[in-house]
């Protein structure tokens, strides 16, 4: 009940925990952050011990007392070890690659054992989506956990709360702790598949021109790249020379592709427009064209390449976001 209260009420949680999530850097699970309660199996064990104790009293079994008390002592030691399995674990978040909305983010967490003994069977669970997995951390080792978290909408996706839990070594106790490392993943708008807008000559005059590969006019042959479409492979030339060759087309001479917010019908919602623009950026990058992005208040001059694509998509992802 208290657990639920804490989960639902962040301010109360802050008061209880004494820190304010999300936390920067490495989070060390100090002992006041690790909670421990008996599991159902633990209660069953206690009931077994009670029966053993009553039997020992009834039959005056000295060794029965010995066994019962040894098991009780073992239970206490097990409780301490369960707490120890999480204690002082250092949790830090790794980089998460940007994804498109609707895809799944791969959040990376690093669990640094920092101790000379191993920490087996630690459950890492994302509280928001329920993604979870169990890892063993070797002695002085670092465990890497990849949590697949769905990214429903564009913008920054924060990791959110993660629970670490263990029942090692006896399963009689459950120790757990919550962490919320400051980790976020950029989520691009969901790319809409649609045809690219026609290249405009608007920016041609005076601008630097470079022959950019397009797919309109045949311009020659070049070596095959794994990413080339089979439609562009020069099969005749391949049959003749035996080498894989790709037909190269020159883009529309002097044309640059402007992906412009203003070009889209005003009747479309913001999100739809962003989706379409994102789709265009992806297609343009794939097509190899020089493309620029124009958003209200921002402009990315025509270029191409991974960095350019990322910058454009980031601008779309964070468009009018706080």
């Amino acid at each position: 009940m208290i657990g639920r209260l804490i989960e639902r009420n962040p301010r109360f949680a802050n008061w209880v925990w004494g820190f304010t999530p999300p936390e920067r850097g490495t989070i060390v699970l100090v002992h006041r952050r690790v909670y421990i309660v008996p599991t159902r199996l633990g209660w069953l064990f206690a009931a077994t011990l009670t029966i053993l104790l009553i039997g020992s009293i009834n039959y005056a079994l000295a060794l029965g007392f010995g066994l019962t008390f040894l098991l009780a002592g073992m239970g206490i030691a097990g409780m301490v070890q369960t707490a120890r399995n999480l204690a002082r674990l250092a949790v830090s978040a790794g980089r998460a690659e940007p994804v498109f909305a609707g895809d799944t983010t791969q959040f990376r967490l690093y669990l640094d054992g920092r101790v000379a003994f191993d920490r087996p069977a630690i459950l890492v669970r994302h509280m928001g989506c329920g993604a979870q997995l169990v890892i063993d951390i070797a002695a002085r080792g670092v465990g890497e956990v990849v949590l697949p978290v769905p990214a429903p909408s564009r913008g920054w996706l924060a990791l959110g709360r993660v629970m670490l839990e263990t029942r090692f070594p006896l399963g009689l106790f459950r120790a757990w702790s919550y962490v919320e490392p400051e980790a976020r993943c950029l989520v691009y708008p969901r790319p809409e598949k649609s045809t690219l807008p026609p290249a405009s000559g608007e920016a041609t005059s005076g601008a630097m021109r470079s022959p950019t590969p397009g797919n309109d006019d045949f311009a020659g042959l070049r070596g095959y790249h794994a990413s080339d479409s089979p439609r562009h492979v020069a099969w005749k030339a391949v049959a003749r020379t035996g080498d894989m060759l790709t037909k190269q087309f020159a883009g529309e001479a002097g044309a640059e592709l402007w992906l412009d917010w203003q070009l889209l019908p005003a009747t479309l919602s913001i999100e739809t427009r962003l989706s379409r623009l994102a789709g265009w950026v992806v297609a343009a990058e794939r097509g190899g064209a020089l493309y620029g992005l124009r958003l209200p208040g921002t402009e990315f001059p025509p270029s191409h390449g991974e960095a350019h694509r990322a910058a454009c998509l980031q601008a779309l992802a964070l468009f009018r976001q706080p």
């Binding site: 039959y59 079994l61 060794l63 019962t68 206490i76 329920g130 993604a131 459950r174």
Partner: protein, 656 residues
């Protein structure tokens, strides 16, 4: 979003073949001692059930239906009922549990079921203690405890190496020992039983009984089970003087001597004698009330009384190992008077039984001047009669005394005692049979006298005017070596003599003496720890009149300390950074107190240089610390002397 199943929840984790092998291995260890007592088919059935379960996992077959399992359970219960004619006794109940361990496995799918089976294994361990609590049992059970615990650890960490799990289990048990010790010593002990025990709870205890007929003692003498142990303060009396008094038999029906109804009236224990001995007896449970005392007891232990014929009786039957302290006097001044009615009873014989013996006694009676003379003649008669002392006496018919005295001439001590007492009564002298033990083995290593069932003995007492009851041992008269050095030297060597008593087993006896000295300590200090000892212990540490509240309070305080200690110990190992880092931190703290705080971006070299400028008095030390730290932290190797030097420098650094 719907929460996914919890991967650590035992009810959702399927049992793997490895888990199962560990579980079955632990169970086999646990039921091994039970197999010694169980009918063979039951052990076989249980092992088959284990094997069957393993087969299902190895073949990846679905488990048998519940009905099949219930059917096997019903068949096993029926077979047990046929064997024991009941299911509610101790033995059938435990055997049922043994079978159930196999049946439980057959419906074990998840770790939760498997953990319940492991708990059942713990339970089976304790049932084994109902039969034996020897050191060997304790060791075997410790092994099975370790295996079972390692099994449980394996359930919690399925990916881990079994050897690591075994080590964890060992560490857990070892860490449990301090708490277990405290609980053992301080947990408020209640004298059981809490409720009625099954009929057969005390079955199988051997010992003397309320009656004696030909063959009773000679069959008891085949057992090497320990009757009791006695620890003397100072020297133990000689073998021939060690008569341990047990039940006194008054009534004779021509064949069997019985204890008869209890006559009230307690004699005052005699105080003077030739020698007095103080000793403690640790009596094995025999399910009867009588306590054994060296003749003649001069004190009465707690919760016991002395009957008018000198028996010590406990207030309740002795069902657990009992320790009591006593003083005895040898050759005492006995009371000269006797309870009214007792002497008449001590002369009663069936008038028509054993006519030849009666005639012989009558003949002695007419020719003798005093009772002493009759006793002397009887002893002389037995000594001259060339009687054979044997563990295998011939069977006797109707007139047991006549047949023994005049025909078979071979018997065990009960024959001699019975015949002599009968002769005395026939000659008009009040007499009675005393059963008990004679002698006992003095262990040269711990000076403890161990009395076994084969030391069972019977002798007579005659009432002589002016002297009271006097012990006469007719066996000693016919076979003096019996009381001087024990049974083994008195009977001809034969197969019927228990192995350990055969003279050629001398070296083995040496081993046994040592072992028994250890076992005695175990009995007294571990198994014999009871409410009284607990009270003594509490008094010893200064808590007087410890009731359960005081005990519980002390107990929980100590348990709390132990838990915190364990916690601190495990966290300390976690928290401690390497010594170099620790020394550096102390160094920074010292300087920070002086006002030279290290900025987060500041490296050790810059910081040390700045600190040296700020604290010119300690300039050299500070720079040296900085150098050492950089060398140890970022250098190629760590050397213990350098670390020690760094620590010393930091410790002695004065910056104020």
């Amino acid at each position: 979003m719907k929460p996914l199943p919890h991967p650590l929840a035992p009810e959702l984790r399927a049992v793997s073949a490895r888990d199962l092998v560990w579980l079955i291995g632990s169970l086999v260890l646990v039921i091994a001692p039970h197999a010694l007592r169980a009918p063979w088919w039951l052990t076989l059935l249980t092992l088959c059930l284990y094997g069957w379960r393993l087969h299902f996992t190895l073949q990846r077959a679905p488990l048998p239906s519940r009905w099949l399992v219930l059917g096997v359970a019903a068949v096993a219960m029926l077979a047990l009922w046929v064997e024991f004619r009941t299911l509610f006794g101790r033995q059938p109940g435990i055997l049922l549990l043994v079978v159930f361990s196999g049946l439980k496995l057959l419906e074990t799918r998840t770790h939760r079921d498997a953990a319940v089976a492991a708990f059942l294994a713990y339970f089976l361990v304790i049932t084994n203690f109902l039969y034996t609590q020897s050191i060997l049992t304790a060791l075997l059970m410790a092994v099975s405890l370790l295996a079972t615990t390692a099994t449980l650890v394996g359930f919690a960490a399925p990916q881990r190496e079994p050897r690591a799990n075994l080590r964890t289990a060992g560490v857990l048990l070892a860490q449990g020992v301090p708490a277990a010790l405290v609980l053992f010593l301080l947990f408020p002990r209640v004298q059981g039983p809490l409720w009625g025990l099954p009929q057969d709870a005390y079955a199988g205890m051997t010992g003397l009984s309320e009656s004696m007929s030909p063959g009773t003692l000679s069959s008891l003498a085949q057992y090497d089970a320990i009757a009791f142990r006695a620890e003397f303060e100072g020297e133990a009396p000689l073998h021939a003087l060690r008569y341990w008094r047990g039940p006194v038999l008054w009534d004779f029906d021509g064949r069997t001597w019985t204890i008869g109804p209890d006559l009230r009236g307690a004699p005052t224990p005699p105080r003077e004698g030739r020698a007095s001995y103080r000793y403690a007896v640790v009596l094995e449970p025999h399910n009867r009330s009588w306590l054994f005392a060296l003749e003649t007891a001069a004190s009465v232990p707690e919760r016991a009384r002395m009957t008018f014929d000198g028996q010590l009786l406990a207030t309740t039957p002795v069902r657990t190992r009992l320790r009591y302290e006593l003083t005895s006097v040898i050759g005492p001044e006995p009371p000269r008077t006797e309870v009214r009615g007792a002497l008449a009873r001590a002369m009663r014989i069936p008038p028509t039984s054993n006519p030849r013996a009666q005639a012989l006694a009558a003949q002695w009676q007419t020719g003798a001047a005093s009772d002493e003379e009759i006793v002397g003649r009887a002893i002389e008669f037995l000594r001259a009669g060339r009687y054979t002392y044997t563990l295998e006496p011939p069977l006797l018919g109707l007139h047991t005394v006549d047949e023994f005295l005049f025909d078979t001439r071979a018997g065990f001590c009960e024959h001699f005692a019975s015949a002599f007492t009968f002769l005395m009564r026939a000659a008009g002298i009040p007499s009675r049979v005393v059963t008990g033990y004679q002698g006992g083995d003095l262990n040269p290593y711990d000076r403890i006298v161990t009395v076994r069932q084969w030391d069972a003995h019977a002798w007579s007492e005659v009432f002589l005017a002016g002297r009271g009851w006097v012990r006469v041992d007719p066996t000693a008269a016919a076979m003096p070596r019996r009381v001087e050095s024990g049974l083994a030297r008195a009977v001809p060597e034969s197969a019927s003599l228990p192995l350990m008593m055969q003279p050629r087993m001398e070296w083995l006896r040496g081993v046994r003496y040592r072992w028994e000295a250890v076992a005695h300590k175990w009995n007294v200090w571990v198994l014999g720890y009871n409410p009284e000892r607990q009270r003594d212990l509490m008094q010893f540490v200064g808590i007087r009149d410890a009731d359960w509240r005081a005990l519980t309070a002390v107990l929980f305080s100590i348990l709390g300390v132990i838990t915190l200690g364990l916690l601190a110990w495990s966290l300390r190992r976690l928290a401690r950074p390497d010594p170099v880092q620790r020394a550096w931190r102390n160094f920074c703290r010292k300087l920070a107190q002086r006002g030279v705080e290290r900025a987060p971006h500041e490296g050790p070299r810059d910081y040390a240089a700045r600190a040296a400028r700020s604290v010119p008095d300690a300039r050299r030390t500070i720079l040296r610390i900085g150098e050492l730290y950089i060398g140890l932290r970022y250098g190629a190797q760590q050397s213990a002397p350098l670390i020690a030097r760094l620590q010393r420098l930091v410790r002695t650094l004065r910056v104020t």
